[in-house]
Amino acid sequence: MFEVRGLTKQFGESYALRNVDLDVARGEVVVIIGPSGSGKSTLCRCLNRLESPTAGTVLFDGKPLPVEGRELARLRAEVGMVFQSFNLFQHRTVLDNITLAPMKVRKTTRPEAERTARELLDRVGIGAQAGKYPAQLSGGQQQRAAIARALAMRPKALLFDEPTSALDPEMVGEVLDVMTSLAREGMTMVVVTHEMGFARKVADRVVFMADGEIVETGSPEEFFAAPSTDRARDFLAKVLAH
């Protein structure tokens, strides 16, 4: 579904990504892990062109991502994204957060959009919060609302950039549960996370990044049992030490 070839991203002189190749198949769940600053977010954001690469290409469904304008907006409607800081629209209720894009982009009528939104909110377990503003919700509820907002566009794939990193520990589980059930239903997902348990249980493939490069990739069983590179071994030793 995604084909990444030779992706390079420079910020000034420094490289955030160097010559990255990655394929994500339909229905696949790819978890990206790696130390801070290794380029995980940048890679994730290049997949819907929130970040425009310095070199290389990203194909989605066999076609290169449009560079800008309406074409790019249309592509983004197909690829949902969930952010570390939720980024719910602060001035709109949870329900209005979810209905905005379907109404503006897909021209869905309000009643139809609201019906879908309420179904999705029930599905992520916060149906009772529809009329509240984001700031009135807990972090876990906000992130689940953000997932519902992304799902309302009926995306073909979902990108998650550290969706649980800003959450209090007791709320991590409720968000991971929603993500796990999406994965089980066959959603194509690219997930940047530090949750090794999730990676182990849910990932079809783990991608380990360091210094802007993909250092190692493999099934979670292989990767966690016997990482083949020193970098990955060091990293796992550190994160699993706690």
Partner: protein, 214 residues
């Protein structure tokens, strides 16, 4: 005191014209302000440059010069408008530059993640500006916009210089007849103050109503 009562009608007419001029200029300035601020944050370099040029040009020439220029130059290029209309348009254009700067500072105060989330959902740049960024930006700059509204009211007095008989020009005329400058101009001043108190109250109420829970 009798003079004021005697000229109540004149003052009423002057005040009305000032209010009309200020109201037109304010509505125009707000629309221009939002449009120019949108240009200044546009991803298209040419549009950004146009927005910046607009603000620089309008802000770096005194309002009085713009008014005099418009009154004398427009008829020369075939644009015939009465003095009131010309003044209202010039004021709107001039105050619009200041409004644009205030709105832009509001846009910059909205976390970048808000616009990113909107675009990630498939909204175009203008849709995300209109539906997500601007509504939040405007809420944060109610106070500065209120201050600019008061500045606009005060600047309507400049129109007196090009022959619009608003409040200040009225005071001047009454004074020419009665020669009681202190009473007359203190009264005019109090009327301006009353207008700005009204704007202040509206601003405060709007700000409370528009506050976003964060």
């Amino acid at each position: 005191m009798e003079i004021l009562i005697e000229h109540l009608g004149d003052f009423g007419d002057g005040l009305l014209l000032t209010v009309e001029l200020a109201a037109l200029a304010l509505v125009g300035a707000l629309v221009i302000g939002v449009l120019v601020a949108a240009l200044r944050v546009s991803p298209v370099p040419v549009l950004r440059a146009a927005g910046t040029a607009y603000v620089q040009i309008l802000q770096n020439v005194p309002l009085l010069v713009w008014l005099v220029l418009a009154v004398f130059a427009l008829p020369d290029i075939g644009v015939l408008a009465d003095l009131f209309t010309t003044s209202a348009v010039v004021l709107a254009l001039y105050q619009g530059a200041y409004m644009a700067e205030a709105v832009r500072s509001g846009i910059n105060a909205v976390p970048v993640g808000q616009g990113e989330a909107a675009r990630a959902l498939g909204l175009t740049f203008s849709q995300s500006l209109l539906n997500v960024v601007l509504p939040q930006a405007l809420r944060t700059v109610v106070q500065p916009l209120g201050t600019l509204a008061i500045m606009t009211i005060m600047n309507t007095a400049m129109a007196a210089a090009v022959g619009v008989v608003e409040l200040t020009a009225t005071a001047n005329r009454v004074n020419l007849a009665e020669a009681q400058p202190i009473w007359i101009f203190v009264s005019a001043g109090l009327l301006y103050m009353a207008l700005s108190v009204v704007v202040g109250l509206v601003t405060g109420a709007t700000e409370r109503k528009a506050a976003i829970l964060r």
